[in-house]
């Protein structure tokens, strides 16, 4: 099967690249083994000091709305972090003390949400807190039932009016209400409804994964890509490539076995260690599909920092590229291959990190492809 571009990895970087190429009239396919880091997404785009029109337009086309409000955001552990650009349902505050009194709602038996930490963190900022619990929908009252964010979010999306009723009864003089981020999975308008109907400032606090806004983002981006005619091969793994000189001709995948995917351009968007875009054993770090050069320390003891919460050097490891993001093989660039997103690790600090890196590098690679003809 032949495409203009084949993309390996269907996370944020791969989808942004795929959508941009389809919009420019180029045919593409995305091959992705399993799901990706968006399922752990806080909703805030790391290292985005600006809100590029190009990104907001691409997201708006997919039905995803973002807002740009440099300041801080509330983390699931009740601390505050700098943030600039986020999905619309994530609150950004100019300063950490965003209210005088907050009502923190929790869900009995739901273990992936830390209301006590939230209260402690907010009290530190001088926000007086009171905890309350929400009644569970009937379906989930049996104690043996697994309560994960997704199961709860389905019910909240359906019964959000009942949440509003409960909060209206519970609220006293609080000017803010903290709700777990358990809505807007299927119906993206629910967070806004809750904000409209609850007579106080509504702030959604992140839960442990899976992340509801992240899953929604993934679903909407994938749908947008498919509506634009992109071919998304889910659950398939790129195995290896056929190369001639410095050019990649095709890749082979697990499911399509001997049916190669041919293209004029290839984009490696396979993520970091977490997504298996990078692999390691005690001796080395490598990139499994194309076997391109990886930047890592030969001395294994230098890979990690003994301080658990400290910066871990291995997180910076990634594939080596030239200025146009062509990965190197023994120092020579593969001319029709591009590496984008977390597979780059920290090798391109000027492109940022996290979601910022994924988006900037995706746009850069797409521009190179569109210019190269």
């Amino acid at each position: 099967m032949r495409f203009d571009t084949v993309i390996i990895g269907g996370g944020l970087a791969g989808l942004v690249a795929g959508i941009s190429l389809q919009q420019a009239g180029r045919s593409s396919a995305i091959v992705s083994t399993g799901q990706n880091a968006l399922h752990f997404f806080s909703g805030c785009f790391e290292s985005m000091q600006e809100a590029p029109e190009r990104l907001t337009a691409l997201f708006a086309g997919a039905g995803i709305h973002v807002h740009y409000n440099p300041g801080v955001r509330l983390t699931p552990l009740g601390t505050f972090r700098e943030a600039t650009l986020s999905l619309e349902d994530i609150s950004l505050f100019p300063e950490a003390k965003f209210a005088d009194k907050a009502l923190i709602a929790c869900v009995p038996g739901y273990l992936d949400y830390f209301s006590a930490f939230l209260a402690e963190g907010l009290e530190k900022q001088g926000i007086q807190c009171r905890l309350c619990s929400l009644d569970l929908p009937e379906e989930l009252q049996d104690g043996s039932v697994e309560r994960r964010s997704v199961q709860l979010a389905r019910l909240v999306d359906r019964d959000w009016k009942k949440i509003v009723q409960q909060i209206r009864l519970l609220i006293k003089d609080e000017d803010a209400v903290i709700l777990p981020q358990l809505c807007g999975l299927q119906d993206a308008s629910v967070p806004e409804h809750l904000r409209q109907e609850i007579p106080a400032r509504v702030v959604f606090a992140g839960t442990m994964p899976p992340s509801i806004p992240g899953i929604r983002t993934q679903r909407l981006l994938k749908r947008r890509y498919e509506v634009l005619g992109g071919t998304y091969l889910s659950g398939d793994e790129a195995l290896d490539a056929q190369v001639e000189g410095n050019k990649v001709l095709s890749i082979r995948t697990h499911n399509l076995d001997n049916h190669a995917l041919e293209a004029s351009h290839f984009i490696l968007a396979s993520g970091g260690f977490f997504s298996k875009g990078l692999r390691s054993n005690p001796f080395r770090v490598w990139e499994p599909v194309f076997g391109v050069d990886v930047d890592f320390d030969e001395d294994r003891n230098a890979w990690y920092n003994e301080e658990f919460a400290g910066d871990q050097p291995y997180m910076q490891y990634g594939v080596k590229t030239d200025a146009a993001l062509h990965p190197l093989v023994d120092g020579t660039p593969r001319e029709n291959l591009y590496a984008i997103g977390s597979v780059l690790g920290g090798t391109r600090p000027e492109l940022g990190s996290g979601a910022g890196l994924a988006i900037r590098s995706a746009f850069l690679a797409v521009d190179e492809i569109l210019e190269s003809l």
């Binding site: 099967m1 396919a29 083994t33 399993g34 799901q35 990706n36 399922h39 752990f40 379906e139 989930l140 049996d142 039932v145 697994e146 994960r148 997704v150 199961q151 389905r154 299927q186 994964p209 899976p210 899953i215 749908r223 498919e226 071919t231 091969l233 889910s234 659950g235 398939d236 793994e237 995948t253 697990h254 499911n255 399509l256 076995d257 001997n258 049916h259 977490f274 997504s275 298996k276 054993n281 005690p282 001796f283």
Partner: protein
Amino acid sequence: MRHQEKTSSKHNFEECMKCTVCTVYCPVLQVNPRYPGPKQAGPDGERLRLKDPYFFHYALKYCMNCKRCEVACPSGVDVAELIQSARIKYDRSAPKLRDRILASTDLMGTLARPLAPVVNGVTSLGLTRSVLDATLQVDHRRVFPKYSGRSFECWLKRRAKEQAMYLEQVAYFHGCYVNYNYPQLGKDLVKVMNALGVGVQLLDGEKCCGIAMITNGMSARAKKNAERNLAALRKAGADKGMKVLTTSSSCTMTLRNEYPNLLGVDNADVRDAIQMATRFVFERLEAGATLRFKPNYHKKVAYHVPCHMERLGWGVFSERLLRMIPGVEFTLLDSACCGIAGTYGFKKENYEASQAIGAPLFEQIRAVDPEVVACDCETCKWQIEMSTGYSVQNPISILADAIL
């Protein structure tokens, strides 16, 4: 330094990093709170079961083996295989009479076919359906597939000579559905293959692939069928070098993946020969073969990728094939389960869950409002037709209709 190269055993159980991604995509978990979900039923539960089979939980029967957890898992854990193999290994409860009947698709076919008009009449009667519901717990709201008067095998046997004239030959694993319920699909395949200059043969002694037996606690019988099918596949595939084509994604997944991975039946020598017909046709057309299409043909088609087709990763072949037909206005439906999962949705205890799972798909079909829904799975066809009223056809039938 010494280190362990491989850290993973059967079904990649140890690869699980507890990320919970599979729980997002399990359709049953979203509607049936009694189901522990893929992570708990699969890798988490397996750790306990390995310690003591006491920890095997009856609720694993709610897994409909749709494989969506496997498609979603970023670590390559074969979650559904872990669950189904735990059922095979630890579930000592004898299958109910109802489950035995539902699972015996070929036996049911053999018995029902000669009496087709009577059986079809009887199973569509409200009274019969209530009786089935009360006695066997087959939900009375289900619409039953119709049985055809003459089997596909019988039809093709009469044409064996004519088919043998083609220089190139393929064998066809038609499955129970084409044979007993809907021979038209088999006839459509023959039309398409003949148009490509290829003759179609029956396998020598095809049996039901056994998928329904596996999920209904009858793996010993499934294994017998697997061995007999492999003998037939070997004769065609390995000995004569023919491709063996299929038109059902579930049969294909069973023949290719479930035989070795769940039943322990080695199919390595014939696995590659087993292919969905849409893949075969697409590859032929891509290699330069041509078909003569009807002029002024127009059809609005919405394609639903069945769960097992998604697991095979071959939906792309059907999709591209449909898009190639001049005059087809194509929509790809969102990846979603229709809720039937073979015999699963026929059971009274699953009916509500089954319909709730399918609801988003049905809604999207109504919104797209196509002339026909395309789909490579027979049980999806029953479910979608019953639940939406839209007609559902295999991509091969749509192609057959579009060519001269």
